[in-house]
């Protein structure tokens, strides 16, 4: 280990985050490697190692002969300070080698608030932030992940983006990079060729022009780049790679368990939900395959917990069979099975009871809106009867805690809708009184609200976010109604949500703001320990940009949107129609009941299997 690092580590919190050496890490012989990649996650080790996407791609990339992919996470503030003071550059965990010495530096960006951390990591690595300042081919700096479905705010920093699912695309990209490295190609030549790979977006090959009012006039593709970049997906998800020899961290992480991915996409079409639109179409994995992967993963990791993940696990067709199969194995080994993302309906509760026959953890439901009218408007087709019935079953079964998540500021929301949230809490409390197994144990009902953030590529991409003062007024309105004992009301501060709203629908000009925030000390902005609203406000002002223009402005139907260079497969007309149905409080059927013709089936070249 590096001598300087050795002196730093005893002084920082949780040093095991910074050493690598975990069970199942992949070490390759440098003499047999001709391309090295740093897979960077712009958040802490505990968060990054909990990310399923990173684990999948670490494995698929390392399956390439001669390519070694290593992990890099953002250091916490104390470690960053020590590294800067001692002159230790950002290094890859497996080898301990500086990130800047590797050939490819790829970031997985899942959340807009991680943008400044990306810049900080580049700086810690000693790599110039802006793509134009990196004139050599290597290291190639690129990014992917959900927050890249609007790549524009980070466009000036990245050489390219990989849009969509990376299992196949990343390997094609790295293969091309290997050829380019061998052949001594120029960066420009490489980028032009890379733009031919489906899903690769090279921002320097697009020139945006703006109208006088600040809106986008047009985007001109250069050097034969495609007008729009189509999101890449894995067509055969059942057969796509899933790592069953996953790294087992030696220190505790957030999701410290085996994570089985049931399916991608979601049949529901909740109108506020970006994930429900950008991961289409629905593609599932078979029960047999999942059982095989689950058991193998448990054996290879020694984990005592397994969880099923997807956007809506209740919608997995063979969920009962899968749970039975897993429980057969888990029960006698004291392994627990967790089921997040369940819908509040009878079917889910039956499964929940089966799964949680030993330990009763908390139950969480996300009705999102208080009134049925508003839930219909956002197409969250959960009925209050279903929610209460689920609670009834839960309370009668011995549960004594429920968490309820809501958003404030959804399109069409009125004060009546806000107050209806308190009514739900009252009804749940009443339900507990009627059905509790043991009232002496008491009940904890937690209601949380956050401020709705309109997201690109969702039907609400044209919406304005409500002003922060308005959010707080609605919070106070709700607080006034939440006067029951046993009910706790938590609300998120609106400031992070406001910046998130500005960034998520931002354009290329926001790059200056991101750089300014970083220069002013911003990083790890997803953490309240580090987020400073004042710093963001200052940066917008200094760059002469108005955050309200991005966050709080309703877009016109014909406005060219900066993220439309990305084609998710879902047609703009479909999103607009869904938006109109919201204003008419009309539900749309789920994909299984009736296809609404969103267009995403074109990505798999046929009919999708909801």
């Amino acid at each position: 280990m590096d001598k300087k690092l050795k002196r730093i580590l005893p002084r920082v919190q949780k040093p095991a985050r910074y050493t690598g050496g975990e069970y199942n890490q992949i070490i390759k012989n440098k003499a047999e490697v001709d391309l090295r990649m740093a897979f960077c996650f712009p958040d802490t080790y505990e968060i990054g190692m909990s990310n399923v996407g990173m684990r999948i791609l670490y494995s698929t990339i390392n399956s390439m002969t001669g390519v070694w992919c290593e992990r890099v996470f953002a250091p916490w503030g104390d470690m960053e300070e020590e590294m800067r003071a001692a002159g230790v550059p950002l290094y890859a965990l497996e080898s301990g080698d500086p990130v800047a010495d590797l050939d490819a530096v790829g970031f997985s960006i899942g959340y807009e608030m991680a943008y400044t951390t990306v810049l900080n990591m580049l700086d810690l690595a000693g790599i110039p932030l802006r793509s134009e300042d990196r004139t050599e081919l290597l290291p190639l700096v690129f990014a992917g992940g959900t927050a890249c479905c609007n790549p524009e705010p980070m466009a000036q920093f990245m050489d390219l983006f990989v849009i969509g699912e990376g299992e196949e695309m990343d390997n094609e990209l790295l293969e091309l990079l290997r050829t380019a490295k061998r052949g001594g190609w120029s960066k420009k030549d490489f980028l032009c060729r890379a733009a031919d790979i489906e899903g690769v977006y090279v921002p320097s090959l697009y020139e945006p022009e703006y109208n006088a009012d600040g809106t986008l006039r047009c985007v001109t593709p250069l050097d034969g780049a495609p007008a729009r970049v189509r999101r890449r997906i894995v067509k055969d998800f059942d057969d796509s790679h899933f790592p069953t020899r996953q790294i087992v961290p030696s220190t505790e992480i957030v999701h410290d368990r085996v994570n089985l991915e049931l399916f991608r996409g979601c049949i529901r079409g909740c109108r506020f939900c970006q994930a429900g639109y950008v991961y289409r179409p629905v593609r599932s994995r078979s029960v047999d395959r999942l059982l095989e992967q689950g058991l193998e993963s448990l054996k290879n990791t020694g984990y005592q917990e397994i969880t099923l993940s997807s956007l809506s696990s209740s919608d997995y067709r063979q969920l009962p069979e899968l749970c039975d199969g897993l429980l057969d194995y888990c029960r006698e080994r004291s392994i627990s099975l967790a089921l997040p993302s369940l819908r509040a309906d009878n079917f889910s509760m039956e499964i929940m009871q089966k799964v949680q026959s030993v330990r009763k953890s908390g139950l969480t439901f996300a009705p999102e809106a208080g009134s049925q009218r508003l839930r219909d408007a956002i197409n969250k087709n959960v009925r209050e009867e279903d929610l209460l019935e689920s609670c009834r079953v839960a309370f009668a079964g011995g549960w004594n805690g429920v968490k309820l998540y809501f958003m404030l500021g959804l399109p069409t929301e009125t004060d009546e809708d806000v107050v209806a949230i308190a009514q739900i809490a009252k009804d749940v409390l009443h339900c507990w009184r009627e059905n509790a197994l043991n009232k002496n144990r008491g009940v904890r009902i937690t209601v949380s609200t956050s401020c709705f953030v309109p997201k690109p590529h969702s039907p609400f991409q044209w919406e304005k976010q409500i002003p922060m003062e308005e959010y707080l007024r609605r919070v106070n309105l709700l607080r006034g109604e939440m006067n029951m004992r046993n009910v706790t009301y938590n609300w998120h501060d609106p400031e992070t949500g406001f910046i998130e709203a500005a960034l998520s629908r931002g354009d290329r000009r926001l790059g200056a703001v991101l750089e300014q925030v970083w220069r002013d000390g911003g990083r790890l902005d997803a953490w309240s320990d580090y987020f400073s609203f004042e710093r963001w406000r200052r940066a917008f002002e200094k760059c002469g940009l108005d955050a309200d223009f991005y966050a709080a402005r309703e877009r016109g139907r014909d406005e060219l949107l900066p993220w439309e260079v990305v084609d998710t497969g879902v047609r703009r007309e479909h999103l607009w129609r869904e938006r109109e149905r919201c204003y008419a409080s009309e539900l749309s059927p789920d994909c299984r009941t009736q296809c609404t013709g969103c267009g995403a089936n074109a990505l798999i070249g046929g009919v999708c299997n909801g």
Binding site: M1, K6, R7, L9, P10, K14, P15, A16, Y18, T19, G20, G21, E22, Y23, Q25, V248, S250, T251, E252, K299, N300, T301, G302, Y303, Q304, S334, R359
Partner: protein
């Protein structure tokens, strides 16, 4: 079922794994190696394992001891090999046996320290260190649960010797393992407090061997 004892080493990158994380790591490694640890009964079952002397973060050891119980005792001969293969880099299982001693009989620890002095002469420093640690009494301030307290660490240092090593002074010492427990970090800490000019720029330690009351090797 009878209690078993594992002797293992923890070196290299693994020294930064904390005691609690080490317990978790061991439980998972036993599962991966195909040995079922016995679990406690009750609402929140946990594996019955106990590491005899918790090791502080950053300290290496080639003499760690852990007691555990298996639900089924078979394949003990292969256990060290299979467990080592299932452990993270830097942790190696050396032997497994039925212990004849109780944990509280463990009294002394032999440790090795590397004291780094940037730009200073190792020979001279080694000599000065030997002089200092020959003192009859070394009263230092220690952090305790109730704030700071003064304590004489000399009785907890049974022997001490320092010699010139490669780019460092190599220290060998036998220190009290329990009642009182002497954290090796208190050796450089004593220097910082009592003779700052002898305080190293960096010090790291390795536990070498465990002993009983009468300095016989503890197993």
């Amino acid at each position: 079922m009878d209690k078993l004892r594992l002797r293992f080493s923890k070196t290299g990158r693994a020294v930064y794994i904390s005691h609690l994380d080490m317990m978790r790591t061991m439980q998972r490694a036993f599962l991966r190696a195909g040995y079922a640890l016995k679990y406690s009964e009750g609402f929140n079952p946990h594996a019955q394992i106990s590491i005899l002397l918790p090791l502080s973060v950053g300290c290496a050891s080639v003499c760690e001891l852990m007691d555990f119980t298996l639900t089924e005792v078979s394949g003990l001969a292969e256990l060290p090999g299979r467990l080592s293969a299932a452990l993270p880099e830097g942790i190696r299982a050396m032997e497994v046996y039925a212990p004849e001693t109780k944990a509280k009989q463990l009294k002394w620890l032999e440790i090795e320290g590397r004291f780094e002095y940037d730009g200073r002469d190792s020979v001279a420093m080694a000599e000065a260190l030997n002089g200092f640690f020959a003192r009859e009494s070394m009263v230092i301030r220690k952090k305790t649960k109730r704030g700071e307290a003064e304590s004489d660490i000399a009785p907890a240092v049974r022997s001490f010797s320092a010699m010139e090593g490669e780019e460092a002074v190599l220290v060998r010492a036998v220190i009290s393992a329990q009642e009182p427990t002497l954290n090796p970090e208190l050796l450089p800490s004593a220097l910082r407090q009592l003779v700052p000019e002898l305080a190293p720029d960096f010090a790291e330690f390795t536990r070498l061997e465990t002993y009983g009351e009468n300095m016989s090797v503890f197993r």
